[in-house]
């Protein structure tokens, strides 16, 4: 059932003073036909995670320092050139954030969709064109736009084209990296409905990356919250929305609450994420956390289970409290799992 398994992934940028660890022992699984979301803000490592999954990190100057990426059980990092080219776009397709700059300005949008189809399905020119036109209809793009050029279309339309390029090859997994961020509020809604439709019809799994909680909440059944290169909370969407454990998750949900703007003061998180050069093994949110104690600065964090239902988090205090409650109630369980040394 597991389509994509990322285990203990470490991605870094070499720096003269050490390593800038942008993805720090990240593990998650995306199952078939599931929509898995990664939520976090700029610099948390979510985009670099996607880049690593696509094995594109080399071209942006990053290196993978450890861990495994398994797609349908195969080790992606050991793919040869040909295999990698078939994998990219064919088995795993990507929808990028800003399609206006992500499309070749010299070719029609129809051509660019057909190009993917020809490459990965072996279809001939005519067949590919026909299929591309079908995709256009499916996505609600008017047929006369086939011969249009990227600069002639609006942002919303281009994002649909991006969707078309992604599904043209019938991929098993679609990675959508901030697909709605560049869109207006009204168009965002339309686009998410489109993604849902795509998921239903194509039966592809979706790895959705965004900083917009609403988007994640509407689409994903399971999510991971990333902060400073690590996963700080993971579990079922509903569970996390209703019972967030990690202080960062709580603060994020509070800040993104649309009803929060009715109050006199918008909830916000003061400070900023740390620079990830040789990052500490201790809690990286400590400086900004309301509940921070001096132990948070000393003890290394791990991922702790909140319950049996696959809800994990990285807060030492919350885990200790849970353990205390359990011990009081006579249940002594091992709550610490998936613990590992973070950083180098």
């Amino acid at each position: 059932m597991a389509l994509l398994e990322v285990k203990d992934l470490v991605t870094y940028f070499p720096h003269e003073k050490g390593k800038v660890q942008v993805v720090d022992h990240v593990s998650f699984t995306v199952n078939e036909r599931e929509c898995f979301g990664i939520i976090g803000e700029s610099g948390c490592g979510k985009s670099m995670t996607a880049t690593s999954v696509m094995q594109y990190h080399n071209e942006v100057g990053a290196k993978i320092g450890g861990g495994q990426i398994l797609f349908e059980g195969r080790d992606v990092m050991s793919f040869g050139k040909k295999e990698l080219q078939d994998y990219r776009g064919g088995e795993v397709a990507m929808i990028m954030q800003n399609t206006m700059s992500a499309l070749d300005p010299l070719f029609t949008v129809g051509d660019q969709v057909a190009e993917t189809i020809r490459r990965h399905t072996g279809a001939g020119k005519k067949e590919a064109r026909k299929r591309a036109e079908e995709i256009f209809t499916f996505l609600g793009i008017p047929a006369d736009r086939y011969k249009a050029y990227p600069h002639e279309l609006s942002g919303g339309m281009l994002q649909r084209i991006a969707g078309g390029i992604a599904i043209g090859s019938n991929p098993k997994l679609i990675i959508a990296d901030e697909p709605t961020t560049a869109l207006d509020a009204t168009v965002q809604l339309q686009y998410m409905q489109l993604l849902k439709k795509i998921q239903k019809q194509t039966k592809a799994a979706i790895l959705l990356i965004s900083h917009d909680i609403r988007v994640i909440q509407m689409m994903c059944s399971r999510i991971a919250v990333m902060y400073a290169g690590q996963i700080v909370e993971e579990g079922n969407t509903d569970e996390i929305m209703e019972h967030p454990v990690h202080p960062y998750t709580k603060a994020l949900l509070e800040a993104a609450n649309p009803h929060a703007l009715k109050v006199d003061r918008i909830s916000t998180i003061n400070g900023q994420p740390p620079f990830l050069l040789n990052p500490p093994a201790t809690c990286r949110f400590a400086d900004r956390c309301a509940n921070c104690t001096h132990r948070c600065h000393q003890q290394e964090t791990g991922l702790y289970a909140d319950n049996d239902g696959g809800h994990f988090h990285r807060c030492i205090l919350a885990a200790e409290e849970k353990e205390r409650n359990a011990t009081e109630n006579g249940k002594i369980e091992a709550f610490r799992i998936r613990e590992h040394k973070a950083a180098i």
């Binding site: 803000e41 609006s154 339309m157 207006d184 509020a185 009204t186 809604l189 900083h211 917009d212 909440q217």
Partner: protein
């Protein structure tokens, strides 16, 4: 637009029309109507939110307000005097009193200037204060926006988006403006940082009683900062009123759609079959420009573009013909 109560009006826009000639060469010059009829005003210490989507004319409106472009027709008045009658002295004063903060913080700064120079520049251009005084002012501006004075010696690329917007706000405040034009200042920022900037803007407004023209496509942030709201679609203001009025009793279908987009939490299974684009600026349809997207559109809507404002309640106007008083 019917007359408002006479209080000291800082900025008034009256029937602004802005069109451009597009097309190339000696033939085929078409007219693109960017703004067809914009009217609103901002009183001293008041904040107005202008809400619309990309291409609706929000940015063009800011350019007209800031005096960067002259409108094709219509009048922009600042403190009662029309911008078209401005002489050199008037412009000098206008530029000190009306400042702007834009969406993309990194694009707003010369990457070779240190922050100190960025903040001192407005003062030195206007010959205000001695070099020492300017230095002190730059540092106090940084503190005003919540940044430490030691940031003055850094370059823009060393800062995060949120910090840069603070610097942009500090720079806008350097000359003690009366009106601040804010064009989507938080759209490019992370959601947890947005609150920081919005809170800052809120506090500054309360403390210094500056008027804001706040532009956004996200109606939720407008609610927090603005006393009144104008909804713009396809170059026209389709609804106008105080914030409470708009949120409690939205009239125009577009306003309702914007409000819904801000708070919806679940996707319906009912997916729209075709994407609706904004109508062409060079070839506008005869009727209401929102007709294609409107759930209550009728034949009458498509026949003639409704441009008259109906006063729904005191101070609350809308162009939709379906509202019957």
């Amino acid at each position: 637009m019917p007359q408002k109560m006479e209080r000291s009006k800082l900025l008034e826009l009256e029937n602004i029309k802005q069109q451009y000639k597009v097309g190339f060469g000696f033939r085929n010059k078409k007219t693109a109507v960017c703004l067809s009829d914009i009217s609103f005003d901002i009183e001293e210490g008041q904040t107005l939110g202008l809400v619309g989507e990309s291409g609706s004319g929000k940015t063009t409106t800011t350019r007209v307000v800031l005096g960067i472009e002259a409108p094709t027709s219509g009048d922009v008045r600042y403190k009662g005097k029309s911008l078209s009658e401005y002489g050199r002295k008037d412009w000098k004063q206008f530029r000190q009193e009306v400042q702007a903060v834009f969406q993309n913080p990194l694009d707003s700064f010369d990457p070779r200037f240190k922050v100190r120079k960025i903040l001192e520049e407005p003062l030195s251009i206007n010959n205000i204060g001695s070099p020492t005084e300017r230095r002190e002012k730059a540092e106090s501006l940084l503190e005003m926006v919540g940044l430490s004075a030691e940031f003055a010696d850094r370059y823009p690329h060393e800062f995060s988006g949120g910090q840069l917007q603070r610097i942009a706000i500090a720079r806008a405040l350097a000359l003690g403006p009366k009106l601040l034009v804010l064009d989507e200042p938080v759209s490019a920022l992370d959601v947890s940082v947005r609150g920081q900037i919005l809170n800052l803007l809120h506090d500054l407004q309360v403390e210094k009683k500056i008027s804001y023209l706040y532009i956004s496509h996200d109606i939720a942030s407008v609610r927090y900062l603005c006393d009144k709201i104008a909804i713009i679609y396809f170059g026209q203001i389709v609804e106008y009123g105080s914030t409470e009025q708009i949120f409690e009793k939205p009239i125009h279908p577009y306003t309702k759609e914007l409000l819904k987009a801000g708070v919806v939490t679940e996707l319906s299974d009912n997916v729209e079959s075709v994407v609706h684009e904004v109508p062409s600026v060079t070839d506008p349809p005869p009727g209401c420009p929102f007709a294609d997207r409107c759930p209550v559109c009728t034949g009458a809507c498509r026949a003639k573009n409704p441009t008259e404002y109906k006063e729904v309640e005191k101070g609350h106007f809308s162009t939709c013909i379906h509202y019957t008083i």
